[in-house]
């Protein structure tokens, strides 16, 4: 359960103040697949940083799993990211010259999961993300773009997070591969009941989600949440 209440974010550069978010409120229930859509400069990246506990709001509250994240220290935010958030980036951000398994196991290193358990969990996540077993021991730079992004999705999944945040996950992929990756998100949402927030500027991509929150100039201009395409009664179980 995610609750965002009247969140504002102001950046100050010298004497110039810029308000990136100007009072944003919404809530996302567990198991929802939400797209946050807006053009560049709309504040969607700022919103993603706050949702991902990478940044805190200047004003307002962000409550994740009943815990107020908006006032936490850097180290406490790191714990939230480690336990509750899984990131998928546009630029993939895999460790270069490193095996697929090792990449996926990386979050478990910080979660101090035991060695054997790491491998089991990483393999599970990779299967859930739809990567063929033969690629598990390949180096990250030996894979195609679509495969890389699936490794990144597996890495986001491996810690069993409350929320998966995908920031323009198809931005570096061609349309066909992008479709496959989006399909993966849909499957994770439907089959495994994962809560997914997709940040994008393209409506084509956003429409894969069940609910679209449109944002412009730091404010929500439209939220399709009330008339969801599908009712959100997903099975909630770990993959």
């Amino acid at each position: 359960m995610i609750e965002v209440r009247d969140v504002r974010k102001t950046y100050t550069t010298g004497e110039v103040e810029f308000e990136a978010l100007r009072g944003v409120s919404f809530s996302i229930k567990d198991g929802e697949f939400v797209a946050i859509m807006g053009p560049s400069g709309s504040g969607k990246s700022t919103l993603m940083h706050i949702l991902g506990a990478l940044d805190t709001p200047t004003k307002g509250k962000y409550i994740l799993d009943g815990k107020d994240v908006s006032t936490l220290s850097d180290d406490e935010l790191a714990d939230i990211r480690r336990d509750k958030i899984g990131f998928v980036f546009q630029a993939f951000n895999l460790l270069p010259r490193t095996t697929v398994l090792r990449n996926v196991m990386l979050p478990l290193v910080y979660a101090e999961v035991d060695g054997e358990m790491r491998k089991t969990k990483a393999e599970q996540a990779l299967r859930a993300a739809g990567l063929d077993e033969e690629h598990f021991i390949h180096l990250s730079n030996q894979l195609s773009g679509g495969q890389i992004q699936r490794v990144a999705i597996a890495r986001a999944l491996v810690n069993d997070p409350t929320l998966i945040l995908a920031d323009e996950p198809t931005g570096n992929l061609d349309t066909k591969t992008g479709e496959i990756v989006l399909g993966t998100f849909q499957r994770l949402n439907e089959e495994y009941g994962r809560t997914i927030v997709l940040i994008t500027h393209e409506h084509e991509i956003a429409k894969h989600a069940d609910r679209i929150i449109s944002i412009r100039d730091g404010k929500i201009v439209e939220d399709s949440g009330t008339h969801a395409r599908r009712s959100a009664h997903h099975r909630h179980e770990t993959y």
């Binding site: 714990d79 990211r81 480690r82 951000n93 979050p107 910080y110 979660a111």
Partner: protein
Amino acid sequence: MKLTDIFEETYFALSSNKVRSGLTMLGIVIGIGSVIAMVAIGQGAQGTIQSNIEAIGSNLLIVRPGAQRGVGTQVSSGRGSAQTLTVEDAEAIAKNVPEANAVAPEVSGRYQIVGKGTNTNVSVTGTTPDYLAVRNLQIAEGSFVTDQNIRSLSKVVVLGPTVRDDLFGENAENVVGQAVRIRGMEFRIIGITAAKGGGGFGSQDEMAFVPVSSAQKFLTGSDSVSTINVQATDASVMTQAEENITALLLERHRISDPQLADFSIMNQSDIIATASSITETLTMLLAAIAGISLLVGGIGIMNMMLTTVTERTREIGLRKAIGAKKKDINLQFLSEAIMLTFGGGALGIVLGWLISFAFAYFNVLETEISGASVFLAFGVSAFIGIVFGYYPARRAANLNPIEALRYE
């Protein structure tokens, strides 16, 4: 983050860029290696010099005559020129100074020794049997000068091995019993001393020894002696012995003011102390120069770590996004720096050992590697890792994850 994970990450990061890690390590290898080698060479030199000094005898006090000064004149003929010391002085020292273990007076001069168709100019020393003990000398063949020889003014001579070689040919045998001529007089060879190698104060291998009485009568024609060698019973009583000898000789020479003493005493432990302080300074100088290369190596580490942090900005951002704390990033990069210096330190110790081994192997110098210098080298290399790794690691830890992820 577990400790084993930090080690694994560190190993992984360093081994994924082997050439660069290796080159960076090389700076530390050379630094630590040269410190160890220089200290080993310095200590080896100290040991060699010390053993050279000790080879001339142990616990030795050397009494030499002072300057002779004519009555009513200020002209001095220089130290050692006075003819104030006598065999009786030596006997008095042996009798009255309890710390004196052995006393050997010495009369020396350079003379031409003539053999069969050959001749050589050597230092001929007139002395007593105690000379062997006092100057650590051994007899290889025959015997040394005896008290009987001294009493009977025997014209006998003991040759150093080099003198024997010069007169009779290399390692000539059956030399004992043959005769040589010194100042036109025939001396019978009664012994050959054992080869001792070069000493700090002229080699005894190149000397010839005759009874002190014979030297005074036939060679110098004077009753004085040029040196009195005194061996103290123990290193700890050398100062005491020196004071007693001074008092005794002042009294015998009827001098009331010690400032006007007509003799001087050289203490062997003083010579060793002086030589040691010289070599210690030398060792420190060498180590300091080597230390500079260690410093340069450390700066190399810092340089590489800063480059690495910049290159891996996105990786740092990602690690932070998936839950790494500042502390984790800090430790990871610090341990990379320490691993580099530690690895470099270990290789440097091997290199230093090889260099000093080579010095010893090719007989340049006896070297000795002290455990302390190895221990110190390890400590220093770890310390350098921490010092030069701290700043880059802190820079990495303080990166903002959002900006780090965006870094191109």
